[in-house]
Symmetry: C2
Subunit: 417 residues, 2 copies
């Protein structure tokens, strides 16, 4: 029997190469079940401002959905909006639920990271407390891979594949001159080192890993680092270091705060997080050049890490799509206050199931790289890390090219949608 | 009849995604003609220091050459070494030619940019003046596309394809929030704007171009820029600007010199060029934020532009391979003091011939973006630019993947080769 309802879907937080694949999964599954699909323009904030898209029309051509799966960034637009608690502002929730009812919404799917799961947590709690029939399901998404309740998050695999691929290319590039050099490659990840650790995936038979991998989980001992670099340079020309933007000195300050341009880089966002970090690599390059006298350079992978869908992981996009669909199925089956999640069955061959995690256990929590994934000296990751991460970057996506550039679905117009 | 000689090949200057394809072309053609192939380890400087590779052995497996065509950076290693003039140091040339004779070299192929062509120019001139039978041929290579005597240079198309692809992805990423923002994407190119101009290739039907493209050929009028940005922000949320690292103020100073970290970025290399520029995008982001009060960010594409072989242009790699081979054929036929070059026949369909350009007309010259490729207001490129550049990024290369990462030929060991 057709599921005769409106499914409302939104995207929130930073974009990734896989978040639109989850949107495609939500859309395809909901349509297949007979539901109609409404999109939040610019997340819950935009929806509450009356900005609703009728995706049945917007994605009317089957080719649109195929392109959507290969298009990076958040097709619907995004927001960074922290909901009040029901105690702080019950009127907010009364207003939101009135708008859900007005749009005849039976299920709300929200694709995002920790902060977005907080949104689902609060809405579902209010719904349960007020006998609402609306179901609220989170779909995990973050390149940072720092959500609990799931083996990993969609978006991480594609970001890791970009990092491993470009790290290998940078290592080739760094080795061409017959002189001593240290290259610092700065990688995203505020507090968790999953992305920085994925630099190790550049190493396969005949292809070296970066020499050091500095995670935000480990406080930097600058003297020890310089000593290690000096020893490495005694036996090889080219040293490459993967360094997280979030590495801190022992006094707790960020390395990038020590950099001259810190003033630009340390604004707090709506969730009290540091909004953008950068300069960690430049700082280390400067310190190393001064101490060791060798050539140094700093490379920031920057935004490309989260939007490089031209080198997306096929595994990642398939999982993103599956988790979107699994979330819709869960809602159809009466579940609420849940996040669709991945349960790993085996590493090699890589096998997984989809499952559900209670949203309360996920929201506002952060999963860091565990100790057993970090080498004893704190300056690299272990073989166990590689075994965990390697399957997530497996497989390539065939892009459709137009004029020599990967073709995307035409983005929504920011001003008139 | 077999060409019974030793062909000596070297790579010089900055690496690219296509320079190894030219090496593969030299190798395959020379071997096919019956010659043996010697490699200069670390360019002419390494060769003169006695570092010779026997490539018949190093590239003994046919799969090695296939991988070489897809491996970025300079397989042989590189140098930045400016030869003296014969007047300054005749002993240098006597020594070099003694070493060529000792290695029974019949032809020297040197793959590189303007400075490398200077090397070929000087060596061939000495050879001609001293009745040497050795032939000297240059193979063009530079992502900067600033060589005269050829329609374009191998390496440029792949760098442009990376720039266009990531520019499109960055534009998607920039548009997700419902707020006004300006993103500056800083692109390589000291004095010529070919790479920065290629950002326009992100635009195809349904996919927008960057709003502004700032080339080093045009002096920045900062007030006019801020005025344009202000007008753009009145009618759209998201403004994206491609900016060359080499853009200068009207007083001749580089924008990046005006940035706080200028001290690190303005060392001169052996050729008297500024060795590394960066900070132009950060400078403009800071100025724009202060003047217009909107969100700004700066993204440096950095080294990835010259080594991103995972998104190489099939056209570019095929041309690089062809020019390597054409250079060997020219040497076999008795030519010297020439550079193999591309003569364009038509834009669409793209058709070309290989040809030869006298090295004297190429060395130490620089080809800038001509006026007709730059818009009247100096803040964009024209349709003629796009017509020129579009065919050069056409076609994708199928990489061989291992462990989820493009597989390369095992690089030479920097310490023991």
């Amino acid at each position: 029997m057709a599921w005769n309802t409106n499914v409302l879907v939104g995207q929130s937080g930073g974009p990734t190469a896989a978040i639109n694949a989850s949107l495609a999964g939500v859309f395809d599954t909901a349509r297949d079940l007979g539901a109609h699909v409404l999109g939040m323009r610019y997340g819950i904030e935009g929806f509450l401002g009356g900005r609703i898209l009728h995706l049945d029309r917007t994605l009317g051509d089957p080719m649109d959905v195929e392109l959507l799966r290969r298009t990076p960034s958040s097709f619907l637009g995004s927001c960074r909006f922290k909901l009040p608690t029901p105690e702080q502002d019950p009127a907010f929730f009364e207003d939101a639920f009135a708008k859900f009812e007005a749009a005849r919404v039976g299920a709300v799917l929200y694709i995002g990271g920790n902060d977005s799961m907080d949104t689902i947590d609060k809405l579902s709690q209010w719904g349960t407390d007020h006998d609402s029939d609306i179901r609220f399901i989170g779909i995990p998404k973050t390149i940072d891979n720092d959500l609990v309740g799931t083996d990993h998050t969609p978006g991480y695999g594609s970001a890791a594949k970009f990092i491993a691929t470009t790290m290998r290319e940078i290592m080739r590039d760094s080795s061409v001159y017959d002189l001593k050099s240290v290259t610092f490659v700065e990688i995203m990840g505020r507090d968790a080192g999953w992305l920085t650790g994925s630099a190790c995936l550049a190493g396969t038979q005949g292809n070296p890993c970066p020499d050091l991998v500095l995670l935000p989980e480990v406080t930097l001992n600058q003297d020890m680092l310089l000593n290690r670099l000096s020893l490495l340079l005694e036996r090889k020309n080219t040293v490459v270091v993967a360094v997280s933007e979030g590495v801190r000195h022992r006094d707790g300050t960020l390395l990038c705060e020590a950099a001259a341009e810190a003033a630009d880089g340390t604004r707090l966002d709506a969730f009290g997080h540091v909004a953008s970090l950068s300069g960690t690599g430049r700082y280390l390059a400067s310190v190393t050049r001064a101490a060791l006298g060798c050539k140094t350079r700093a490379i920031e992978l920057s935004t490309l890490q989260r939007c490089a869908s031209h080198v997306a992981s096929a595994t990642d996009l398939a999982e993103a799509y599956a988790l979107g669909g699994a979330g819709v199925l869960a809602a159809r089956d009466g579940q609420t206050a849940m996040m669709s999640a991945i349960k790993r069955i085996f590493d090699k061959p890589y096998l997984y199931d989809t499952t559900l995690a209670p949203i309360r256990d996920v929201a506002n929590k952060e999963r860091k790289v565990p100790r057993e994934f970090i080498s004893a000296d704190g300056m690299n990751v272990t073989a166990a890390f590689e075994r965990y991460a390697r399957p997530l970057i497996d497989g390539e996506v065939s892009s459709t090219y137009q004029g020599g550039v990967p073709h995307h679905i035409t983005p929504l117009d920011g001003d008139r949608a």
